[in-house]
Subunit: 404 residues, 2 copies
Amino acid sequence: MKILKNRNPAVPGFKAAGLDCGIKDNRIKDLALIVSESPATAAAVFTKNRVVSPGVTWSRRALAKSSGSIRAVVVNSGNANAVTGSKGLKDCDAITKKVAQELGIPQKEVFIASTGIIGVPLPSDKIIKATPKLVTELGGKVKNWIDASEAIMTTDLVSKSDRISYSYKGKRIFIGGITKGSGMVHPNMATMLGFVFTDAVIDSKILKMALTEAADRSFNRITVDGDNSTNDCVAILANGKAKNSAIKSGTLGYREFLKALTKLCKNLASKIVLDGEGATKFVTVRVQGGKTRKQAYLIANSVATSSLVKTALFGEDPNWGRIFCAVGNAGAALDPDKVDVFLNKNRLLKNGSPTNLPPQKLVQAMKQHEIDITIDLKCGKEWEEVLTCDLSYDYVKINAEYTT
Amino acid sequence: MKILKNRNPAVPGFKAAGLDCGIKDNRIKDLALIVSESPATAAAVFTKNRVVSPGVTWSRRALAKSSGSIRAVVVNSGNANAVTGSKGLKDCDAITKKVAQELGIPQKEVFIASTGIIGVPLPSDKIIKATPKLVTELGGKVKNWIDASEAIMTTDLVSKSDRISYSYKGKRIFIGGITKGSGMVHPNMATMLGFVFTDAVIDSKILKMALTEAADRSFNRITVDGDNSTNDCVAILANGKAKNSAIKSGTLGYREFLKALTKLCKNLASKIVLDGEGATKFVTVRVQGGKTRKQAYLIANSVATSSLVKTALFGEDPNWGRIFCAVGNAGAALDPDKVDVFLNKNRLLKNGSPTNLPPQKLVQAMKQHEIDITIDLKCGKEWEEVLTCDLSYDYVKINAEYTT
């Protein structure tokens, strides 16, 4: 396993809580709050879906109004507050107002996100009623962070958290985060959310730049079923407790921060793929030797989203024909006669022609839980990686047997 | 059932044959030939995959060399002659040369296509050996056409043919065709091929224009799993036996021909969707009220290819959240607050908000074999329709359990 167990995501100066406010049945936690003790800069990236939940609209506005200062993140599961008409935004207003009151911070510094069923009005009264208790439960212990990470789960089988730290010029900088998602979208029950916290000193513009770059190598490079939800978002807060000299664009300090942030985001994103609906394989599709990153991405994404490749992975069938076909089908220019394709360490195609490796060797490779598909275009130096899982009976079962 | 049974595709002046030349095991037919008794104009549209089989390359060249005159179409199943290196084109040369000799026509007037396993050299010797017998078996009877339509099948469960005719200025014009395909691609075993024949008088340029337009409303608007194969092609031959005054661009005669050709192509394409791998539903996704055709197409295609929508269809779950999410996810501009969504005759969403129809009514609608999903963008007059099927356990089974 490339993926380590959950690490305690606690970052100095942040407190977390999670509890059951009654949105979901069966006393399952459904409301999380994470707060910075001191003012914090913030940035977020949101779904590219044209249909977005009121929470996305609200949080985009909060970031704009506060000029990138966010102190609190409130998240509910069990209800996506999506396609809920004008009531949706009113609910966001009421909840963030209550959270701000209880914390004694400006309302515009409260970020809100939701995940769960679409088209059902959000029971905001339950959230508002539970807010005082939620605030009293805020803490920096591992238990508090586990509560928060569990409270944002929907069809996830496991909670997901991670933390890394690094030293730079004598200061130790922590970056921790929690995430949820098991289909890239499962719009009645799920969505992809990620919340990342750091004690670095960094302004919101540079933070946005780093988050965008990191997400493009992590959260935006995973696919379970190829869809974006109405609610997807990844947010980051930075409270400056590390007292490093401020991270500036174009410096070594920025590159170190970006590297650490990207690694953390990739670990969190990998956990989503590992928990993909019905997944039995963890698959890394790497395209290298690309002329442009876009070309490499289009091809990697075409392979990673091909139902034919994904069913072959489930069937443990080393079917390079499907891989090569998906390469050609990406809508990206390429020279097929140059392409090499590898399955783990085995070269299946060299210069676009089969290498005729013994099938038994390939069948053996396909039996692994982790599969690396590497495609070398041999026309440049750019690369992209997309993480995916296989398409199994259980994916169909999970998604077909949910009844409205 | 919207789709009628196979009709005899025979068109005056064309002869067909199909036999077992030994590419496939078990004495299954695997070689087809269709020939025009007199010179014929021709046009074809090919896969957009960047990896194409030598047969596609060869036939493109034949159309160019002959200036759009094709007399014979030779097709084998059981082997795609794809990713076969330089031998692939040599095999095309040898086969078309032999067919031309036996028929006494120029080699450049022979069109070739293949479907079947990828990466295995084509046993062209078997095809060449069987060619004299194939030519002696050519005939215009229904049996000959059934032989030909069966000889191009791979994972297809049924052969597919159709014919229509119409009168124009006192002349009766026939258009008939055969097709195959059951995944839009299943690159080790299948591909989409269509061959259409007409006795209309029409030059190859106008024929190309009509075929392109017709394919964009039919063969290019079906999806089983969203992929293009390396070998997909649709070709049309016109031998002029109807002795109509030549069909010219921009005339009523052109519009009548295009209408008939589109209808035939749509019937043939529908048969492919009905025979989709593991399909239990026949689904028409119609987007209307579009500002542009491209916008309407992107949205229809996003809904028709969404694994979440397709599994919901299999599960008979009237999950409008998934449909609306796929609408937003199409990468096309739209105003979500204007969108209406219908399932058969039931309006699920009005102006982007749920209509809260009784679930039981929708569950009933989902139990039909034919499902119409209609999305009205209410921002213009353009429309597009994409035909698709559901994503079932059997799709996974068929595609996972094939072993190399």
